[in-house]
């Protein structure tokens, strides 16, 4: 069953009476979604898993990065270099990343059949094809909810570089929408200068007493959630430094490189260290219709330094086994080099780099033909990748969220994870 139905319902065998039996009379308390499979939820309790997405905006060339084809008609001027994994070569533009390839894996057989930026971005970060009038949650929202920790007051879905709250959580609700962080603590996270902590505690006690009185008459899940949000706000205020990248020593900044990306990667490390389940860093701009090679030389130089420092740090701090790292784009770039030394949009045969969490280190999934114009084995698409990411952090990707009594599949039920990549 491979069609992308709007309802995404995998099995359609439930008869009316069976269904009714399963909901015991049908009184369903709605509003607050939860993982419907308690076993899956319990499994996640064990470790705080995290996801880091490096989004190479514009479309990273697979030929200048993960799947080089030197000395072919499509290969371009750069060589390929050996990596920490014997037999695995990547582009010479990523020398420092090559050192860490024993911790990472490559998927070289992606066919998303799309060359549009907006659609590609949607495919890769929402795990499905965009359909009019149907909204699905972003990977970050799914992770923020699926990997949520009740005791962590920090927001679960962060986009570094943005500003306000995003609209990307669909039916999961604003709680899981992305929060844009630009290196400063979130808005309103600082107590007003004319309010002392003692007085703040005092007024909050008065508020809590009022809440308790109200709760004595009638208490609901919603009134609880409301009162808890203030407690979370208080905890976040105490930890607002987490968001302040200026707290990092100068030597660290030097190691990550004096670029915006370097700063953002350092920021990402801080956030992941503090147990935030999903962090996305973007790097712009790889849309190289002109001068593909010069642009990649420059951009990947920045990326190689920051990314390798980050992967190295995650590894050294023992966080890589609980942190999935993904380097993705909206699509790849054409093997054919155009008249302006550029490469154009290409969704037919391209690559993504993953690593950490339950990803098999050093694995290579799939391949393209000799000059990279076609996938030659193990063709996968964005839906499979989405399942793979979730599986890599221990989520049941074929499970559902219970949204007000309706089951919403976590990922496209017509696809599944690349199971050989998951340990």
């Amino acid at each position: 069953m491979k069609a992308g139905y709007a309802c995404q319902s995998p099995e359609h065998t439930l008869a009316r009476r069976q269904f009714l039996g399963s909901v015991a009379g049908g009184f369903v308390v709605g509003g607050l979604g939860a993982l419907t499979n308690p076993a899956a939820a319990a499994a996640l309790e064990r470790k705080q898993m995290r996801v880091l997405v490096m989004f190479m905006s514009g479309g990273l060339s697979q030929l200048e990065s993960w799947d080089p084809k030197p000395k072919t008609d499509t290969g371009g001027p750069f060589r390929s270099i050996p990596t920490a994994v014997p037999g695995t070569h990547i582009s010479e533009l990523l020398p420092q990343t090559a050192v860490h390839m024993d911790k990472l894996a490559l998927i070289r057989s992606i066919d998303t059949k799309n060359g549009d930026h907006g659609k590609g971005r949607y495919q890769m970060t929402f795990g499905r094809n965009q359909m009019p009038g149907v909204a699905y949650p972003h990977l970050g929202a799914v992770c923020a909810k699926g990997l949520e920790r009740a005791d962590n007051p920090l927001p679960g879905h962060i986009k570094i570089g943005g500003g306000a709250r995003g609209t990307d959580s669909a039916y999961l609700g604003p709680k899981y929408a992305s929060i844009g962080i630009d290196g400063k603590p979130p808005a309103n996270s600082m107590r007003a200068s004319n309010l002392t902590e003692d007085v703040d505690i005092l007024r909050n006690k008065f508020r809590q007493k009022a809440n308790e009185r109200f709760a004595q008459l009638r208490r609901t899940a919603e009134t609880d959630v409301y009162t808890q949000s203030f407690e979370q706000a208080r905890q976040l205020m105490e930890r607002r430094d987490v968001f302040d990248v200026e707290k990092e020593p100068g030597s660290e900044k030097e190691r990550y490189g004096d670029s915006q990306l370097g700063k953002h990667c350092l920021m990402a490390r801080r956030l992941l260290e503090n147990g935030i389940p999903f962090v996305q860093v973007s790097h712009s701009n790889y849309d190289t219709h002109n001068e593909n090679f010069n642009f990649h030389l420059e951009q990947l130089g920045e990326f190689d330094r920051a990314f390798s420092a980050l992967v190295g740090d995650l590894h050294e701090r023992g966080m890589l086994e609980t942190t999935l790292v993904v380097v993705m784009s909206e699509f790849g770039r054409t093997p054919k080099i155009n008249a302006r030394y550029g490469r154009d949009h290409w969704g037919k045969a391209w690559s993504v780099c993953v690593g950490g969490a339950k990803i098999q280190p050093g694995a290579i999934i799939g391949a393209t033909n000799a000059n990279g114009t076609e996938v030659s084995e193990r063709s996968v698409e964005h839906g499979d990748l989405f399942h793979t990411y979730l599986s890599a952090v221990g989520m049941e990707s074929s499970g559902s969220f219970d949204i007000g009594g309706r089951d919403m599949p976590v990922a496209d039920p017509s696809r599944g994870p690349i199971s050989e990549l998951i340990s």
Binding site: A135, T167, A233
Partner: protein
């Protein structure tokens, strides 16, 4: 809320169920009365008491005009006579300026789910809605206008419903089904709904066909988009699961297919499609849908809107979620749902009078407080359950029967579809040919007209040339020196000759065009004839199709209605079982607790006994040890003395022998010395004998001592053994008691869990059945307007706007003394304040509302919202004392009683309790001379409290 009001009383209603099929005649009572009657007719279990006057007022303000009342409004309300207070308030609010604005906001959010701004600004759509509510436009008319909207300037705002969804037919189908028919048919796009038997792909495409020919048309991106509609386009569909293929004409949910007019190929358009022109068909399917909606007779349409209005007032729908009307999700009160739907339609779908009736019901005015009923008569409930289950069985039988009928009709329909398919395909083919021929004919006619007008123009030109030539020639003839004109005449002659040739050419072209046109016409005529022939073959096949489909839809609808009763009765049984479970647990709990207490007592007695026995054992052991020591010592002494006695006796024997010898010797020898010695011996023997006596008595003493100690040891052993036995028995008793105790503890815990779970379920179910008012969050708009109102920011804005107006357009002296002019000025200022504060509200909505296109009734409390409340500068500035705003007023008050009163009335719309007054007083005292800050902190704490955040 006064303590007295908060005390809770409950009625326990145990009413025998009215069978669902029985129709109760209520007569000409007002609707609110009939609603309550319908409610009480089936109410079983505890029903909450009427909410107090101030809770009612807060509720009514929020529901009818979207904000809490100002303190002046609260005080004015409280001085009204109690008996009419509520009715008067409802009427006052429904007549106020604010009601239409609030309804516009509510309907905008409901219909658009925060979509807007792509093609039509949200404020324009809201203004259109507000104007509609000001005119009391009936809802079916409003809905019809939304569906039929064209994009002329006048109706552009109402086109927002279509335009903001990019006139995308699948999206429109889903949304029209959800918003106007209460059904989320999304899954039915690709197949019958997997979990909801009622939602059929047939229904989806029936609706889809109404809108599938419409599309967004925007040839020039700089100009506003418009809506085009094609005259053709069928919507065949195929299930991705069963591969069933079918097609349908437009069909309203639960109704028969539309019969559509047939136009000859080429005559279908009012405005033919062209590159820059939006096409308009002669027959618009979308307009047809609007016409049906405007008719207001559709079963689902009526129920949907009545239920949504109910949900608006009551916090949840009789059917909930409101877009899930289907038989597995029955209304909480099927009879009431029908009553509401019929009555709303009967009163011409007028929203405000309907809201008035809802607000007047007991259901609306019920408290949100719940106390478990003291006693529930389980036997009566059991009987009711029995009755409900019988009703369920009957309804289920009917469902199955109707499902079979529907299935049979479906099979017939599919057979008829298969039979008709060749004719239908043939017709479609022929029709396509005819349409192409019509286009060719039209093109030919256009070409012919172009040729004709070219010829006409040339003919006119030629005539002018000819006439000029004639006149010039005549003039030349008359003139003396014709040479002057010769050149002109020559030119004219050349032109004339040229014209003749050109006219000939044009005439030929026209002739050709006429011919082509005639030929095209001929082609068209024969194509049309073929079309007619094909149609004549197909037409007779249609009635059976329609008939089978109608039979199927009817049977499905009947099975659905029967099944509503099945699921409804199941829900009722579930509820009653919970009541029983709760009652039984509540009844069992005290006796079990008493038994548990007794066992607890036994256990502790046994434990005590064990302790005592063990102590006795220890005592005995100690005594026994001492006695044993004594016995040992005595025994040693006895041994020693016995030995001494033996020695003494032997000595005595020896002495006696010696004495005898000595005595014999002395008498034989008459030896004086020997006799003296014998005397000595005799003396010695007497001394030894005496010593033996001493030793013997010592021995006796020691022996007695030894025997006594031995006895003590034996005694103590016996005593210890007895104590041990006693301890063993007690220990066993304790263990048994402990086991029982643990069992009972578990039993009590289970009972308490059962009871509290049942209680929680009963509360949920009571809320779902409107026995108890819901507790729902305020919408983002209600929340923000209420904060603005409570803090006094609204009033401050009005004062600002008034000053602005008075500066820009000062009132004349005459106007200043004219009450009407002053009132008008005030109204203008209030309107201006609403406009400027609407921007503030929009800022809050961004943070507090769900994403666009998502359901807007879920509650979210996020950290960023709490941070805004805690530290946002806006909130701080609203709550800082200024003039007569809330904190400004609080600051001016003297006593903490006064402050508490003003504070609670302004924010929570109620009077503070004694405890709360005391808390305020303590807070103020704690803050000493920082009263300025203290009042801000208090106001902040109440505005951010859950009581403020929720509607209850």
């Amino acid at each position: 809320m006064h303590a007295s009001v908060r005390s809770v009383r409950h009625r326990l209603l145990l009413v025998v169920f009215v069978t669902a099929t029985t129709c109760t005649v209520y007569g000409d009572e007002p609707l609110h009365y009939r609603i309550d009657q319908a409610f009480y007719a089936t109410a079983v279990g505890p029903v909450a008491e009427k909410a107090d006057d101030l809770i009612f007022a807060r509720r009514a303000y929020l529901d009818l005009i979207g904000r809490i009342p100002a303190i002046d409004e609260v005080r004015a309300y409280l001085v009204r006579p109690e008996e009419n207070r509520r009715t008067e308030l409802i009427d006052q609010l429904l007549a106020s300026e604010e009601v239409s604005g609030h309804l516009a906001t509510t309907f905008d959010v409901m219909l658009m789910e925060r979509r807007g701004g792509k093609h039509v600004k949200s404020e324009e759509f809201r203004a259109w809605l507000k104007a509609s509510f000001d005119q009391n436009k009936p809802f079916h008319q409003l809905a019809a206008e939304l569906i039929s909207a064209d994009t002329s300037d006048a109706s552009r705002p109402s086109a927002a419903f279509l335009l903001e969804r990019d006139v995308e037919p699948n999206l429109l189908t889903r949304e029209i089904a959800r918003m106007f028919f209460g059904m989320d048919l999304q899954c039915a796009q690709c197949h019958d709904h997997p979990n909801v038997d009622d939602y059929k792909q047939e229904d989806y495409y029936g609706l889809y066909s109404f809108v599938s020919r419409s599309s967004l048309f925007q040839p020039d991106k700089k100009k506003p988009a418009v809506i085009a509609e094609a005259a053709d386009g069928q919507s065949p569909f195929k299930s991705v699961f069963t591969s069933r293929e079918a097609f349908t004409s437009p069909r309203m949910p639960g109704e028969v297919e539309v019969t559509e007019p047939v136009f000859e190929a080429g005559d279908e358009y009012k405005t033919r499609p062209a590159k820059t022109v939006a096409s308009v068909p002669m027959y618009s399917r979308r307009a047809k849908l609007a016409e049906f909606v405007a008719g207001g007779s559709n079963h689902y349409f009526r129920r949907n809107i009545a239920n949504r209005l109910w949900a608006m007032m009551m916090g949840r729908g009789l059917v909930h979620p409101v877009d899930m009307h289907h038989s597995m999700n029955p209304p909480s009160h099927p009879e009431l749902m029908t009553l509401l739907a019929d009555e709303f339609a009967a009163t011409n779908f007028e929203v405000k009078p309907f809201l008035r009736e809802l607000a007047l019901t007991d259901v609306y005015q019920r408290s949100h407080q719940f106390t478990q009923p003291a006693n529930i008569e389980v036997n009566n409930l059991a009987a009711t359950i029995e009755q409900l289950q019988q009703q369920r069985t009957t309804a289920n039988d009917l469902t199955l029967q109707k499902e079979d009928e529907a299935q049979a009709a479906l099979e017939k329909l599919d057979a008829a579809l298969a039979t008709a398919e060749p004719q239908r395909a043939a017709l479609a083919k022929v029709r396509a040919v005819a349409t192409a021929a019509a286009k060719k004919r039209d093109d030919a006619v256009t070409a012919q007209q172009a040729k004709k007008s070219a010829l006409g123009a040339r003919q006119a030109f030629a005539a002018v040339v000819k006439e000029t030539l004639d006149r010039t020639s005549a003039a030349a003839d008359l003139l003396a020196s014709p040479r002057d004109l010769a050149e002109t005449v020559a030119i004219l002659k050349t032109r004339d000759a040229g014209n003749t040739a050109e006219l000939q050419k044009l005439q030929q072209a026209l002739d050709a065009a006429v011919k082509a046109s005639a030929a095209a016409n001929e082609v068209l005529t024969s194509a049309r004839a073929a079309d007619t022939t094909a149609r004549d073959k197909y037409t007779p096949l249609q009635p059976p199709l329609r008939q089978h489909r109608a039979a199927m839809v009817k049977a499905f609808k009947e099975s659905q209605q029967a099944y509503i009763l099945v699921t409804h009765r199941e829900h009722e049984v579930e509820y009653l079982r919970n009541l029983i479970r709760q009652a039984e647990a509540a009844a069992k709990l005290p006796t079990t607790q008493t038994v548990a207490a007794a066992i607890e007592q036994q256990y502790s007695v046994a434990v005590q006994t064990v302790a005592t026995s063990e102590m006795q054992m220890a005592d005995a052991a100690k005594t026994m040890t001492e006695a044993a020591t004594k016995k040992a010592t005595a025994s040693e002494t006895v041994t020693k003395l016995t030995l001494a006695k033996q020695q003494q006796q032997q000595a005595n024997k020896a002495l006696a022998a010696a004495l005898q010898n000595a005595t014999a010797a002395a008498s034989a020898l008459q030896d004086q010395a020997v006799a003296g010695m014998a005397t000595e011996l005799e003396k010695t023997a007497a001394r030894v004998t005496a010593r033996i006596g001493e030793t013997s008595s010592q021995l006796d003493v020691a022996t007695t001592e030894m025997e006594t100690a031995g006895q003590t040891v034996a005694d103590m052993q016996a005593r210890a053994d007895a104590a041990k036995r006693q301890a063993d028995v007690a220990r066993q008793q304790a263990a048994e008691a402990d086991k029982k105790r643990t069992e009972l503890q578990t039993t009590v815990a289970t009972l308490m869990t059962t009871k509290s779970e049942a209680e929680a379920s009963v509360i949920d179910q009571s809320t779902q059945q409107f026995h108890l008012a819901t507790v729902e969050c305020l919408t983002p708009e209600q929340l923000t307007w209420s904060i603005l109102q409570a803090s006094g920011q609204t009033e401050r804005q009005v004062i600002t706007e008034l000053a602005k107006l008075n500066k820009e357009k000062p009132l004349t002296e005459e106007q200043k003394s004219d009450a009407a002019a002053l009132a008008q000025r005030q109204t203008d200022a209030e309107a201006a304040a609403v406009v400027s504060l609407t921007k503030t509200v929009a800022g809050f909505v961004k943070l507090f509302a769900a994403e666009q296109g998502q359901p807007q009734d879920d509650f979210f409390a996020t950290v960023d919202q709490a941070l805004l409340f805690a530290n946002g500068s806006q909130m701080r500035s609203w709550l800082s004392p200024s003039g007569d705003n809330l904190t400004g007023r609080l600051l001016k008050l003297e006593t903490s009683d006064q402050i508490a009163d003003e504070l609670y009335l302004s924010t929570l719309v109620r009077k503070p309790t004694t405890d709360e007054i005391q808390d305020v007083s303590q807070y103020l005292a704690a803050r000493g001379d920082r009263k300025n800050e203290a009042v801000q902190e208090l106001a902040w704490a109440l505005v951010t409290s859950s009581e403020f955040r929720f509607q209850y």
